[in-house]
Symmetry: C2
Subunit: 214 residues, 2 copies
């Protein structure tokens, strides 16, 4: 049996159930490949959705920011979170407007985030956050000093109650539309990195290695 | 004076105020360039964040989906929304882990969404949703018939209470770190479209025009 995340009424897809999966390996892969996530929470019933970087270690998702960060302080204060990561893989162009779609992979993680106070876990999380942006980067930069460690809030959200949703493949046109003189198919999308722009104050003797993330 | 969206306590950036803007032209541009948005709302205090396609006409943002869609039904039932659109423009690589960042443009729109019942507005919104995915596409496909119109819920959210946040430029390293032997700068990111994949049932006489979205 495959390892699954916890499935609850809330994390169960109501629509397009055929697109839903609760396999931990899929959830992890979408979280790892998404450069940013969107953190949702409500304060006095009013919703906020904030984009931020995340990183995963095993079944723990880490978020970080400044000590005065409104989102992090709401979450550590006991406000529930829904963290959603989305990858858009392609435009699905059908013959009818109605059947247009996107190919995508998305994950929602629900739960409560807590402060990371253990020094070793905090350092590991901060390394993971840098490596999430660019694998291997954490080992090449100056690591956080004491002031910076104190000046960074790190929260841990268990990847426990979650779900993934995936659409792949060609458009599903209505049979009557197939003979229309309209092009149909998929336009795959991909994120690429372009030529690196050195910092204006970069000494000329510092070169950079291979940087292509994608 | 430039045209601004409505600035409230909630839409005012608390951190990195220098990155915030409330200019309508900037808000609109980020919404238009983002292929998807993330819709946040809370039901019984529990948050949800759902990725979906959107489209803007003037100062109205449109969302759509199936009549049984949980998100749309929550919103039309009077639940407040926070719709966030995010563009990630680059990786900001500093000498220290602490100063790493992303170049990005994001927008949050707060408010209540309502049903679009006017037939002309609904058709215009559905055209805009298809054109948002691929400009000019709505004019080349079969438009919605009566069954499909009835089978689609369209909601309108005013782009009124909103804010944009933007980071651009090189890393801001600590002066003491500048001489470190660590490459620093920006890796720009871009979404590209790859070679179109025709639908398996596409008749051979149907060719497609120029499709590159980006």
């Amino acid at each position: 049996m495959t390892d699954q995340v916890r499935v609850t009424a809330r994390s169960t897809a109501l629509r397009h159930r055929e697109r839903a999966t609760y396999e931990r390996s899929v959830v992890n892969q979408v979280l790892d490949e998404s450069l940013v996530c969107h953190v949702g929470f409500a304060v006095d019933g009013r919703p906020f959705v904030i984009p931020t970087i995340h990183a995963r270690i095993d079944d723990r998702l880490y978020l970080h920011g400044a000590p005065a960060n409104h989102m992090l302080n709401s979450l550590r204060g006991g406000v529930e979170a829904c963290v959603t990561a989305t990858l858009v893989d392609g435009l699905v162009l059908a013959r009818s407007a109605f059947r247009h779609s996107l190919n995508y992979r998305s994950v929602c993680v629900f739960g409560y985030a807590t402060d990371v106070t253990d020094r070793a876990e905090k350092l590991a999380a901060l390394d993971a956050l840098v490596d999430h942006v660019l694998p291997g980067r954490a080992g090449r930069v100056r690591r956080p000093n004491e002031t910076e460690l104190l000046g960074t809030l790190v929260l841990r959200l268990p990847v426990d109650e979650a779900s993934a949703k995936i659409r792949t493949g060609p458009p599903a046109d209505h049979p009557e539309d197939v003979e229309l003189d309209v092009w149909a198919g998929v336009i795959p999308l991909r994120i690429i990195s372009e030529a690196a722009i050195p910092a204006p104050d970069l000494p000329s003797h510092v070169s950079h290695g291979p940087f292509r993330r994608m």
